[in-house]
């Protein structure tokens, strides 16, 4: 009887040492937060030569918003006396094709600047896509030439 009690104490002590040892072993295997490196997978970027609505939106904020307004509704912040910039969010798809919109941006008319003098053809296409998106026109999904 006394022998059985001693056996149980020995088994319990060995089990406890094993638990402590395994916990200690796991702590050792944890990576050093100051040394280990996180490898972030590279985000594939689109070719800069491909027009996108996102680029068009950025260009619109920089070049068009002042006169045509942030929503493209003609409610701009800077206007000339006697004239107002036309709203760009009410263009009918039948009258304003993408080619006509791009032509207007490229060549200007009256107080509308000739943006073709500073914007690249891709940038003008991006702006055209963005203006089409303001009107709910189905914008074609641009494809990379390499794709």
């Amino acid at each position: 009887m006394r022998h059985g009690w001693f056996k149980r104490v020995i088994v319990l002590a060995v089990f406890s040492c094993g638990m402590v040892g395994s916990a200690h072993g796991e702590a050792v295997r944890l990576p050093n937060p100051f040394r280990h490196r996180i490898e972030v997978p590279k985000i594939p970027r689109r070719d800069a030569s491909v027009p996108t609505i996102a680029r068009g939106a950025a260009l619109f904020a920089r070049a068009c918003l002042s006169c045509h307004g942030p929503r493209g509704d003609g409610e701009g912040f800077a206007q000339f006396p006697g004239i107002t910039a036309p709203p760009l969010n009410q263009l009918s798809a039948s009258e304003w094709s993408a080619t006509r919109i791009a032509h207007a941006i490229q060549n200007g008319d009256g107080a509308m600047p000739e943006w073709g003098l500073v914007l690249s053809p891709t940038e003008i296409q991006s702006l055209t896509l963005y203006i089409e998106s303001l009107n709910g026109h189905v914008a074609p999904i641009p494809k990379s030439p390499s794709a």
């Binding site: 002042s66 006169c67 912040f77 800077a78 206007q79 000339f80 200007g108 600047p113």
Partner: protein, 318 residues
């Protein structure tokens, strides 16, 4: 009877001498008229002479032809400024006008009349004028009328050892454009980078506040062209208030207008001037006196039309 023996009728016949004299007189008249319409910009450029101290005045945003509450008599405030300029001692060598000579109008005839009024008003001061266009003068017709009445949209000249380049960043939109940048590149390649260079134009060459068109879309490209220059200043108007900024190696300063002041940039609201105050009608209006010293540094003094005694209050050495 041979016709050569007939008595000559001075009114109906012309000798070779008369023809040549007449031709010369006609050419003189045509040239005179041309120079009347095209102020004499052509000076030696570049100029390698040592810098001689001199003074000039920057005038901007006169908006002749405007009718409204922002300034109920724009010609009167311009007259006040010109009177003060004529009274300066020492007198300025020239007036540098940085755009918006006239108020925007869709009528070409009215625009031409306003430009002629400005030119004739400034001619009465007998002080040489170097001007660039503002968008109110030139955007609607791409600067054609401005060029025919006032002069070139862009040009360069040297004065007493200091190099000046007038830029057009308004007539086709708020940008310089590739052709003008190539022209500037060609101009600055001929200049000494150690000498002071002063650009003057209507809109700022950096982004003050794009929602109000207070910027030049491709201004950064011009800044790159003058990276080697150690002393470059840009005098501009358009913003109707005093704004100063260092952008890389460029010191850009806006001058007070003579038409009306405008709010400080930053709020996304429609750009509107205040009604002219009855008690302080010339508050926020003025012009700028620039003294160039022998080292090419600029001493800038902003003259307020409402407080002439504060002429040198804002003096600053650049």
């Amino acid at each position: 009877m041979p016709s050569t023996l007939l008595p000559r009728e001075p009114s109906s016949t012309m000798t070779r001498r008369h023809f040549l004299v007449g031709l010369g007189a006609s050419a003189g008249l045509v040239l005179g008229e041309l120079f009347r319409y095209f102020p004499v910009y052509a000076q030696s450029f570049p100029d390698n002479a040592p810098i001689t101290p001199f003074r000039f005045v920057q005038l901007t945003d006169t908006h002749l032809g405007y009718t409204g509450d922002a300034n109920r008599e724009v010609s009167r405030s311009l007259g006040l400024a010109l009177k003060a300029i004529q009274g300066l001692t020492p007198s300025p060598d020239f007036i540098l006008m940085t755009g918006d000579l006239t108020e925007f109008t869709t009528s070409a005839a009215a625009r031409k009349a306003r430009l002629i009024l400005f030119r004739d008003t400034l001619e009465q001061t007998k002080i040489p004028l170097y001007a660039v266009a503002g968008e109110h003068d030139a955007l609607l017709d791409r600067g054609k009328l401005y060029a025919s009445v006032i002069g070139d949209l862009r040009y360069g000249f040297s004065h007493k050892g200091v190099q000046f380049i007038g830029l057009d960043n308004v007539s086709r939109g708020f940008f310089l454009g590739g052709d003008q940048l190539a022209w500037v590149k060609n101009q600055v390649q001929q200049l000494d980078p150690a000498r002071p260079l002063i650009f003057f134009c209507h809109a700022p060459l950096y982004n003050v506040f794009a929602p109000w068109n207070w910027y030049t879309y491709d201004g950064a490209a011009l800044r790159q062209l003058v990276e080697k220059f150690s002393n470059v200043s840009v005098l501009y108007g358009h913003v109707h208030q005093l704004i100063t900024a260092y952008t890389a190696n460029l010191y850009q300063v806006a001058a007070l207008p003579t038409a009306w002041p405008l709010p400080a940039p930053g709020e996304l609201v429609k750009l509107r001037p205040w009604p002219q105050g009855a008690t302080h009608p010339y508050l926020g209006l003025g012009f700028r006196v620039v003294d160039v010293n022998a080292t090419g540094r600029l001493l800038i003094s902003n003259v307020r039309l409402d407080k002439e005694e504060e002429v040198y209050h804002a003096a600053r050495l650049v």
